[in-house]
Amino acid sequence: MHEGSITTQIVESISREATRRKAKKVTEVKLTIGELTFLNPEQVKFWYEVLTKDTIMAGSKLIVEEGKGKVRCLKCSYEGSFKYIEDTVLYTPMPTLQCPKCNSSVEIIGGKDCVIRSIKMII
């Protein structure tokens, strides 16, 4: 829902970096979007296209990969993916903050970020 403002920040960061390095053109950007963010990759791509029009980023390729959600158990030190619960009314299983191994509570250690990994530019 807030892809517009987040993508604006992404484009500003890339633009800052490109200007700093006196780039003539940006050709490719790699982005990781965490599974636990509320950013829809398709909408980010849409906004990216709109916001980079008429800039040195125009036409550049935006590669988006998903950052997997990751939790850590405070009790048994399990590290890995969420425990999901299947519910008949749900289309997709529901993630929980329960440890898949020992059922005590876990903390989220990955999947909440949106990171610009790298930028390809012609200098």
């Binding site: 829902m1 807030h2 403002s5 987040i6 920040q9 992404i10 960061s13 970096e17 700093r20 390095r21 780039a23 003539k24 050709t27 636990l36 963010t37 509320f38 619960i85 519910d87 009314v89 749900l90 529901m94 993630p95 929980t96 903050l97 329960q98 005590s104 509570s105 989220i108 909440k112 970020d113 949106c114 990171v115 610009i116 990994r117 790298s118 930028i119 390809k120 530019m121 012609i122 200098i123």
Partner: protein, 227 residues
Amino acid sequence: MSKPLGDVVKADEGEVFDIELEENILRANQKIADENRDLLRKHGVTAIDIMGSIGAGKTSLIEKLVELLKNRYRIAAFKGDLTTTIDAEMIRRHGVEVVAINTGKECHLDANLIKKAVQRLDLNSLDLLLIENVGNLICPAEFPLGSEKRIVVVSVTEGPYMIVKHPFIFMDAQVVAINKVDLATAMGVELNKLKNDVAEVNPKTEVVFTNCRTGEGVQEVVEALGL
């Protein structure tokens, strides 16, 4: 965050460079949120972020909290939800300062908006800051504000599946108020099922049943928030 220019070997004209950046976009909000928390703590102000759908009962809960707590704490409120009805009357009656925050088209408050709004307050004459977030069960979870605690208000009129359909916001809340308990029977909603759903998603969250029209359960909310 970015690498210094020095690591680039001098380029020929038109050469392609692949530059690693590793810049975390959402971290910017987190950083300001941390600064807000530090500033508020330094002045002994506890901020509570109140989240939930439009109509869940966020404003009603704030009014009841103010009634219960106004003799113990000096209180201010932020309203980010522009549909809210915390009004001048309330300010006059309870001596609570209210700052409206215009989020424009955004679906959530963010730490920078809170930072600006906090500048309008005299933190030395304040103990408690109640922040009504924008009515939305999804986006506010992504933007910590710098509050000590986050509470989600859900009402039974949102139906029996609203928790399992929006699990993420409950992962970020220390307290959940299941509101409008007076309408549970009429809505055919099983209160303990809702409580159980919250416990499944986040075993650490405290669940309180409330009626924010009568004030039933609001004392338990106060205790759950550690106020």
